[in-house]
């Protein structure tokens, strides 16, 4: 890393209208992109809007487009992405911009609901705990996708989301797949109906932008492929009517 300052272009604007504004930010050791954005807001321009909460990669609220790629900014070191001393920070793609770097996540999470992403069990508090073997195939498939933090990076990486506004997107479909594999859940039929079709799993082109960028190294494309198989099986049985 050369020099002790960083030239940072930050997207400023409301909705679709805006422009990049340049800032000079002191370079520090182990500096993250979120540190840079926070420095600008605290020391240069307090009107800069952005979103964060935990700062340690748990909450999934600080995702932004960094040098053209969606990333979780709290866990992205400047040294990793700004080799030439330049940084460009923009809001996530495929989501409505509220202001500057903050996007409206409503569509993103509404699609989780549309994909029947809510656990629905049949047992009550009086029943004993369900016994689920960690080695069972269903538990393994659920575990493979369960660590999603809902940051929206996959959603911003997906070209199908960009051209098909109805498409549920990788995160919502991945969530649905973990529930399809949850042996305690009883809503599979309606869930498979919700995720089939050209707004659901069948719209996926398997381009794997989501896999490439997922901050938790999940594989939503694989989950979506699982949904394609499960819906095909349900269609053969006539269960999607």
């Amino acid at each position: 890393m050369s020099g002790d300052t960083l030239t940072v272009s930050v997207w400023r604007g409301d909705g679709d209208v805006g422009r990049y504004q340049e800032f000079e930010v002191p370079r520090q050791e182990s500096q993250t992109v979120l540190d840079v954005v926070t420095y600008i807001q605290r020391h240069i321009d307090p009107t800069l809007s952005y979103r964060f909460a935990c700062r340690v990669g748990v909450c999934g609220s600080c995702a932004m487009t960094v040098n053209g790629k969606p990333r979780w900014t709290c866990r992205t070191h400047v040294s990793k992405v700004a080799g030439d001393g330049r940084l460009e920070v923009a809001p996530l793609r495929n989501l409505q911009v509220i202001k500057d770097l903050s996007v409206d996540m409503t569509d993103f999470f509404d699609k989780w609901a549309r994909a029947e992403g809510r656990f629905q069990g049949a047992q009550t508090r009086d029943d004993d705990f369900a016994q689920v073997s960690p080695d069972s195939p269903k538990r393994r498939r659920a575990s493979a996708g369960i660590e999603c933090i809902g940051c929206g990076v996959c959603y911003a990486s997906c070209d199908v989301v960009a051209w098909n506004q109805d498409y549920l997107g990788p995160a919502a479909l991945n969530r649905a797949w973990t529930l399809v594999n949850d042996v305690r859940d009883i809503a599979d039929k309606q869930r498979l109906k919700a995720v089939a079709g050209d707004a659901g799993c069948h719209a996926c082109h398997s381009q794997q932008g989501c896999v490439e960028r997922c901050v938790k190294h999940l594989n939503p494309t694989q989950s979506i492929a699982g949904l394609k198989r499960a819906t095909a099986l349900a269609a053969l049985k006539g269960e999607l009517e």
Binding site: W163, N164, D166, K193, A196, G197, D198, A199, H202, A203, K228, T231, A232, A234, A235, L236, G238, L240, E241
Partner: protein, 119 residues
């Protein structure tokens, strides 16, 4: 979003995947035959000599044509729905016509070659 018929969509997807598996075998046999057939130069007489009157080749190419008839229009339908603003019913009609055309032309050729065997 309007969901015309989720079940039909899922079945079409499955039909396309199954036909793709059939096509993978058919294309391998087809290409293998081409490589084998052109060893000593290609002639119409040689092709006719191989396939004319052969029930096996007629059956093979009939399966090939049917797999294409199932596979291609479903893909075409997805592309048209995604890349154009044509109404979905229009797209369905166009793709059905494409299927009919593919089946007619393909089966006609397979049948004519078979009949050259002098049945």
């Amino acid at each position: 979003m309007s969901a015309p018929n989720i079940q039909t969509e899922a079945r079409l997807w499955l039909a396309q995947r199954v036909s793709a598996m059939v096509l993978a075998v058919c294309i391998a046999v087809h290409l293998g035959t081409i490589v084998y057939a052109v060893r000593g130069g290609l002639s119409a007489a040689e092709i006719i000599g191989r396939v004319a009157g052969s029930e096996a080749w007629f059956a093979f190419y009939s399966v090939f044509v049917i797999a294409v008839t199932v596979h291609a229009p479903i893909g075409l339908r997805a592309i048209l729905n995604e890349m154009t603003k044509l109404p979905k019913t229009r797209v369905d009609l166009l793709c059905f016509l494409a299927a009919v055309l593919l089946a007619y032309l393909g089966l006609k050729v397979a049948w004519r070659f078979y009949m050259l065997g002098g049945a």
